[in-house]
Amino acid sequence: MSNILVVLESREGSLRAASLEALGAARTFADQRGSSVIALATEKCELDASLLGGAGADKVLIADAAGHSADGAAATAARVAKESDATVVLLSATVRGRDLTARIAALLGTGFAADCTAADAEAMTFTRPEFGGKAFTTIKINGPVAVASLRGNFFAAAGREASAEMSEVASEAGVSMVTEISSQTGGRPDVSEATKVVAGGRGMGEAENWSMIEAVADAIPGCALGASRAVVDSGWRPHSEQVGQTGKTVAPELYIAAGISGAIQHLAGMNSSKVIVAINKDAEAPIFKHATYGIVGDALEVLPALADELKKLGL
């Protein structure tokens, strides 16, 4: 029947929203092939049959593992892929998802595609960035099953009225275990998952001026903080915020680059953003060639005005 398997991601019992995008992509494959979308939670979590059904799932299987073990989760997913005759296995391109993608492919003796930004259900091809986003490669996976992880903000949940059929499955034992999880971002979304990002670079002058970046982020709901490599290497910001070829690759709806000149490595990491705003003193800065809107000016003067103007909107 060539079913489509989606490996859901959860954290401490709650589903991660990115999984709904993977279900939507899976729905497109299943509709093309007249097959079903099977969603698998590799560890115990709270799931809503109508939320998952609406996003694209026909069946939901919940495994009984108590926590996250990457090797255990991969073994469970590979077993379920075989049992359910899956020809495509989809995951979210998160840290955990990319890890599992490679393992599941290895267990199934097939190839994998990480971080896909597009998929063609008819041709069975996947398109993904390489060289940090400086090129996009379309690939076909040789082998019985295609295993792929999907980059956030590139696929959408199906948005249908449906309820998925829920059942339980046994989990495979794992040898490595997550023993502790602690939240890091102080209530803000992670830069790789957010739909809005405000990022700062050297033009911010010093670490203390980040309060101006934060004020803009505070005025936009769901806005994450980002940083250029230069400021991360200077110790102004944690590397979890670094955007670029040796940091995180992001594709939000809105990316505000303040005091970032736009080195090729930074551009590679954010060039797929829908709307890019550049604020920079130097009118010749490369970032302006990629910006949807630009303001030539000192970020330290423009950002407070921007925060005030955004606050007026009461978003």
Partner: protein, 249 residues
């Protein structure tokens, strides 16, 4: 403590990418040791030094040119290097690379397999966990803090918006993320010493690739943008454009 540190020769992140026949055009491109592999090499050397005994062997699946990067790793302090040589290696996908590396690790003794979290060419993020899976050893990916003691590892990694601590027993594979350490530079003495260290070149078969490239393109061109103005005075127009024109607010 016997450690294998896997490395790859990749285009420098400063390189411009041009495409010929669905491949990177290497002309005029500077090649370097994959930056994430530097973290893996540094960590390998530091663990061996702390243990006071053992060896660090660098292994690369590459074309002949990758001997240069292996010499760099030897100069940093690795004891031996092996090039698994095949001209098709630079184009190989993650699953194929993992299969070749795993096949050539069989029979080697190791406590730790160290990888960069990704190679900055194919960006697949999967060679480490795939090799570990094929060899049947645990793997912890994207590690920013690592402790190795009494036959087990305790590692920290950053996932989206959180940090997790993961435990596994040795032998184990680790993929290294920025933040784990600051890689050392090769000293002049190290560079001289590297010339006398063993660098074995083994021709390897690649077999059928796990992935076939159908097309490779430059990123889609961005629509032309505009400068809305200068300084703080331009902010109202920017916000209006974001709200009414781009509709992202």
């Amino acid at each position: 403590m016997n450690i294998i540190s896997f490395v790859k020769r990749v285009p420098a992140t400063t390189a411009n990418v041009a495409i010929v026949d669905n491949k990177l055009n290497p002309e005029g491109v500077e090649f370097v040791l994959n930056p994430y592999d530097e973290f893996a090499v540094e960590e390998s050397l530091a663990i061996k030094e702390a243990a006071g005994a053992g060896s660090v062997t660098a292994i690369s699946f590459g074309a002949g040119e990758a001997q240069k990067e292996l010499r760099t790793v030897l100069a940093m302090g690795a004891d031996a290097a092996v090039l698994l040589a095949n001209p098709a290696a630079p184009e190989a996908d993650g699953a194929t690379t993992a299969r070749v590396l795993a096949e050539n690790c069989k029979g080697r003794e190791f406590d730790l397999l160290m990888f960069g979290k990704q190679a900055v060419d194919r960006d697949q993020h999967g060679v480490g966990p795939a090799v570990a899976t094929l060899l049947g050893v645990p793997c912890i990916t994207e590690v920013v803090k690592l402790e190795v003691a009494e036959g087990k590892v305790i590692a920290e990694r950053e996932i989206e918006g959180a940090r997790e601590i993961i435990e596994a027993s040795l032998p184990c594979a680790i993929t290294c993320q920025k933040g784990l350490n600051t890689p050392r530079f090769a000293s002049l003495r190290g560079i001289m010493a590297a010339k006398k260290k063993p660098l074995e070149v083994v021709d390897v078969e690649v077999g059928e690739a796990a992935v076939e490239v159908v097309a490779m393109n430059m990123p889609p061109a961005r629509p032309a943008g505009r400068i809305v103005g200068e300084g703080a005075a331009a902010v109202p127009e920017l916000v209006s454009a974001l709200r009414n024109e781009a509709k992202v607010l």
